[in-house]
């Protein structure tokens, strides 16, 4: 168990990166607090796995340092870092039994046989594979194999950190819940530092204390699920988290008023003079249809998802989504949209601007 510090870390897969665009992982400074569970969230190819492989030592970063509890391990090989990592696709040792698979990392570290046996039994219970312990791993189903991979990741108690690289991709949905719950309870009982990479927001929000959102090789926001939902620091976070994502509209900002195409929209906070590409962002949850006031829109479609309705509307080519109560009646004359003044965020060049309470 350790605090992991990233110091000016960056990585490029090219030998001589010229511009910032050549970096798969842009310069990053961050502390992963000891014993905390993090989710690393982002779309495919945003550098999540790169970051994970750098922490575990499978990749050597182009620049910067990695420290475990203040000790520089940038040049230490994976074996010395004592890290557990579970990969997206199951890796099992085909010729071994399930039991031997689970015992493998312990035996490689020369653990005592009685301890290994007890620990393997415990882990097998956790992943629900006690009955198949003496079967050969070859020929098991993909999700059984992935459970073994997870088990191998969890079997060592003294690891500095547990890293998961989209480990539940190949697992059945109902099993996903169960395993995720197991991982959480494991975290509670042992207090390992855990980093969990995923592109599934539900997975990230339910698993982690803190969610780290990455976009285009950069960490755009680190926060609790609540912070990510209410105050997305970057338009990508707004778009990526939530279903549907945040509505973004180009606007002129003057004090506590946003002006879109001649319509004034009141906001709860005030802003000084801003420059660059200005937008307001409002979650569909805080957007309402109205017959009398607001932005004139064209309603394209209404989707009933059971718990609520999603109204898909269009304002001059920009999509606006509105979440309406399941029971709400939507009249033919309700062709205008209003926003909850307290829930409007202002973005300049995609980054959120902190307003002052008016």
């Amino acid at each position: 168990m350790a605090k992991i510090t990233l110091d000016n870390l960056a990585h490029s897969y090219l030998r001589n990166p010229k511009s910032e665009d050549d970096f798969a992982l842009k310069e990053l400074n961050h502390d992963w607090a000891d014993g905390e569970a993090y989710a690393l969230l982002g779309s495919s190819g945003c550098g999540k796995s790169t970051l994970l492989n750098i922490i575990s030592g499978l990749l050597h970063p182009s620049q910067g340092r990695i420290l475990f509890d203040g000790k520089d391990v940038t040049n230490a090989p994976t074996t010395e870092r004592n890290i557990a990592q579970v990969f997206q696709f199951p890796v099992v040792y085909d010729t071994m039994t399930v039991r031997e698979n689970l015992a493998f990392p312990l035996k490689n570290r020369g653990a005592d046989a009685a301890y290994v046996a007890a620990r393997v039994q415990e882990i097998a219970g956790m992943i629900g594979m006690e009955a198949t312990l003496d079967r050969k791993a070859r020929g098991l189903t993909a999700d059984a194999k992935q459970k073994i991979s997870l088990g191998r990741g969890m079997v060592r108690e003294d690891v500095n950190a547990l890293l998961f690289d989209e480990p539940l991709t190949v697992i059945d949905p109902h099993m996903k819940w169960e395993l995720r719950t197991q991982l959480k309870s494991l975290h509670h009982s042992f207090g390992h530092t855990m980093i969990y990479v995923t592109h599934d927001q539900t997975e990230a929000l339910t698993f982690a204390d803190k969610v780290v959102v990455m976009y285009d090789g950069r960490v755009v926001q680190i926060g609790t699920p609540e912070e990510l939902f209410e105050r997305p620091a970057h338009t990508f976070v707004g778009y990526f988290i939530g279903s549907p994502g945040m509505n973004l509209l180009p606007a002129e900002i003057a004090g506590t008023t946003a002006r879109i195409d001649g319509v004034n929209i009141p906001m709860a906070s005030g802003y000084g003079p801003l420059s660059g590409k200005l937008e307001i962002g409002v979650r569909p949850e805080f957007t309402r249809l109205s017959a009398t006031e607001g932005l004139p829109v064209r309603i394209r479609r209404i989707e009933d998802v059971g718990r609520h309705k999603i109204v898909r509307a269009d304002f001059q080519g920009t999509e606006i989504n509105i979440i309406a109560e399941e029971g709400a009646s939507i009249g033919a004359d309700m062709t205008k949209v209003t926003f909850d003044a307290a829930q409007i965020n202002v973005y300049a060049n995609d980054w959120r601007v902190q307003g002052e309470a008016a």
Binding site: N53, G57, T78, T79, F89, Y93, N108
Partner: protein
């Protein structure tokens, strides 16, 4: 549901039947014919029964040739399989050098067999061959035309030079199919290099290695051209392997009856061993499927 019965489809098999009959069955039947008869010329044949076979089974000459053949095949398998795997493990995985290695290693496989023999025949000569001359100057007694060990060493080294590439290429292909994640997981699990080989690489190349062993066994068991060119089976009979002996018997002494019996038994032995291999291989696959 009634199936349409159309026996005419059998006619489509006829061309293949004719081809196989002319290229394989008829020649083989000729050999069978010779194996049970004797002749003193004039195309007159006499029934000989099983006497050629029983003669053969009591012939020291055949048994010693078979012994030499076995020793030869076992030695080259024992060298080529581990060496081939070792080479494959140390080849670059991608980039220019991977292609370079592949092409270089394929070269011996592309050389006609009698040319391979000629290359080593000249290479090993004490008067003009680079290898023979060098060894001679170093004071190592080496003369493959006169010494037993020199002749065997030459024939074995030649075969290793010629065929290790095949094993290496097959092993390399097997290794290339292992996803990176396996090696990464092994690092995470702190597995030693030996364990990576034992538990990841070896199981993955097992199937393809069985094929390599089968191919190399059959080929070496039937080896003729290269030792014939280099040593001609000598000195004495020391490198007279089964097929060299067979040709001597059939074309040198013109003993067609014993030679025919010899080839039939040779054929059966190879069939038997291939069948054993095949059974082991399919069992391995079944275990994989289970």
């Amino acid at each position: 549901m009634e199936k349409t019965v159309n026996q005419k489809a059998w006619f489509l098999v006829l061309p293949v039947l004719f081809l196989v009959a002319f290229s394989a069955v008829l020649p083989l039947m000729t050999v069978v014919n010779y194996a049970f008869q004797d002749t003193f010329g004039n195309n007159q044949f006499f029934w000989a029964g099983l006497s050629w076979f029983s003669d053969l089974l009591h012939s020291d000459r055949m048994w010693s040739a078979l012994g030499r053949q076995m020793v030869f095949s076992i030695i080259i398998l024992a060298i080529e399989v581990p060496l081939g795997i070792f080479v494959a493990l140390n080849m670059p995985k991608k980039g220019f050098w991977a292609s370079f290695c592949l092409v270089t290693m394929s070269l011996p496989l592309l050389i006609p067999w009698n040319v391979v023999g000629t290359i080593w025949q000249i290479f090993g000569r004490v008067d003009i061959g680079l290898l023979g001359y060098t060894l001679d100057k170093l004071g190592i007694p080496y003369n493959y035309t006169q010494e037993f060990y020199a002749a065997w060493a030459t024939v074995i080294v030649m075969d290793v030079w010629h065929w290790t590439s095949l094993v290496a290429l097959l092993a390399y292909a097997g290794l290339q199919s292992i996803p990176d994640a396996y090696y990464q997981a092994a690092k995470i699990d702190q597995a030693s290099r030996w364990k990576v080989f034992r538990f990841i690489e070896l199981p993955k190349i097992m199937g393809v290695m069985m094929i390599a062993i089968l191919l190399r066994f059959m080929d070496s068991f039937m080896i003729y051209t290269e030792p014939f060119v280099v040593t001609g089976g000598g000195p004495g009979n020391s490198t007279t392997f089964l097929s060299i002996d067979l040709v001597k018997m059939a074309l040198g002494q013109f003993d067609l009856g014993p030679a025919a019996a010899f080839s039939l038994m040779y054929f059966l032995v190879i069939m038997l061993i291939s069948w054993v291999f095949y059974t082991i291989m399919t069992n391995l696959e079944k275990r994989e499927g289970a």
